[in-house]
C-alpha cells in the first residue's frame, strides 16, 4: 500500500497558510482491540485495563496512554501503546475467564490519522455530515460515522484535534480525499 504520509510532504501549490490551518498525519502504530460483552463483561474488562469502560453513548475514557471508546451499547474500541498488545490481551482474557465476551485484536485492521488545526472540523465536514460543533460533539466524544463514504471512527481529542480510525485498505483513499478537501479551506 502506498504510504498515506508521503503525499503530505510532496510539493504542491497551496493557498497561503493552508498547511497551518489543518494538518493530517499518521498516528504511531497502536494496539487496538474490539471488545463486546454485557455489563458484567465490561466491568471485568475495565478492571483488567485499569479504566472503566464508558457506558454513556458516544463517549470515551482515558487513563495514561490507554483509551476506551464507546462504539455501541455492548461494543468498545480499546486503544493502547503498540508494545502492550500481547500482555494486555492476555490480561483481559484472564480477567474474563468464564464470562461470555468477544475480544478481538484488530491492531492491524485500522490506520489512525491525527487531524489537527483550527479548521480541522471544517475539513472533516467536507465528507462527514455530523455536527462537529463543540456543543454537539465535545472533547472526548467518539463515534463510528461516515467520512467520504468510508466507515470511520472519529474521536475528538481537543477543540481542534481529532483522531480518525479507518480500515487500512481505505486509508490511502481517505488521506487523498482529505488532502483535496484541504485545498478548498484557503
Amino acid at each position: 500500500m502506498a504510504d498515506p504520509s508521503i503525499a503530505r510532504t510532496a510539493p504542491r501549490a497551496d493557498p497561503p497558510g493552508a498547511g497551518a490551518l489543518v494538518s493530517l498525519g499518521l498516528v504511531p502504530p497502536a494496539t487496538r482491540f474490539s471488545f463486546r460483552g454485557d455489563a458484567a463483561a465490561a466491568d471485568g474488562c475495565g478492571r483488567a485495563l485499569g479504566l472503566a469502560l464508558p457506558r454513556v453513548a458516544c463517549r470515551s475514557a482515558e487513563a495514561g496512554d490507554r483509551a476506551v471508546l464507546w462504539l455501541g451499547p455492548d461494543e468498545w474500541l480499546v486503544l493502547a501503546p503498540e508494545a502492550e498488545t500481547v500482555p494486555l490481551f492476555a490480561a483481559v482474557e484472564a480477567a474474563l475467564a468464564g464470562v461470555p465476551h468477544a475480544l478481538v485484536d484488530v491492531s492491524h485492521r485500522q490506520v489512525g490519522f491525527a487531524v489537527l488545526g483550527r479548521l480541522a472540523p471544517a475539513l472533516l465536514n467536507a465528507g462527514c455530515p455530523l455536527d462537529l460543533d463543540l456543543s454537539a460533539f465535545p472533547i472526548g466524544a467518539c463515534t463510528r460515522t461516515v467520512l467520504a463514504k468510508c466507515d470511520v471512527v472519529l474521536w475528538r481529542r481537543g477543540p481542534d484535534a481529532f483522531r480518525l480510525e479507518v480500515n487500512r485498505s481505505f486509508a490511502d483513499y481517505l488521506a487523498g480525499t482529505l488532502r483535496v478537501a484541504e485545498r478548498g479551506l484557503g
Binding site: A39, R55, A57, P73, L130, R144, T145
Partner: protein
C-alpha cells in the same frame, strides 16, 4: 440532510442508517403457503404512520424500530427492539421540521 433518531446515539445523519423493512411482523406459525406468503411478502404499505426496522449501520450498529410518516418523511419516534410500539403522535403540521428524539443514557 434528514436526521434519524437512534435510540442509543440520538439524532444522526441519514447516511449512517439502513432501512430494514417493516417492524413487528408476526411469523406464521403454520408452514402453509398462505401463512408463509403473508410472513414474507404481505405488507401494509400505509399512507401515513408506519413502524419500520432501521439499523444505525455506520454508528452504534444496532437495529431499532421507528415510527415514520410516509407522507412527510418525518420520523415521529424511535424505540429499542423489544419495546412496544408507541402510540403515534399527531401528524406534523406542514412546513415544520420533524420531531426527533435525543439519545438516552444506556440502561443498566
Amino acid at each position: 440532510m434528514l436526521l434519524i433518531p437512534c435510540p442509543y446515539c440520538g439524532p444522526r445523519p441519514e447516511l449512517e442508517f439502513r432501512n430494514a423493512g417493516h417492524a413487528h411482523i408476526a411469523r406464521a406459525t403454520a408452514a402453509d403457503d398462505q401463512g408463509w406468503a403473508e410472513t414474507l411478502f404481505y405488507r401494509d404499505n400505509p399512507k401515513g404512520v408506519i413502524a419500520e426496522r432501521w439499523r444505525h449501520f455506520s454508528g452504534c450498529g444496532r437495529f431499532f424500530n421507528a415510527l415514520r410518516d410516509t407522507v412527510s418523511d418525518g420520523f415521529l419516534a424511535s424505540y429499542r427492539v423489544g419495546e412496544p410500539r408507541p402510540a403515534a403522535p399527531p401528524p406534523i403540521p406542514e412546513g415544520e421540521a420533524p420531531r426527533i428524539g435525543a439519545g438516552e443514557e444506556p440502561r443498566p
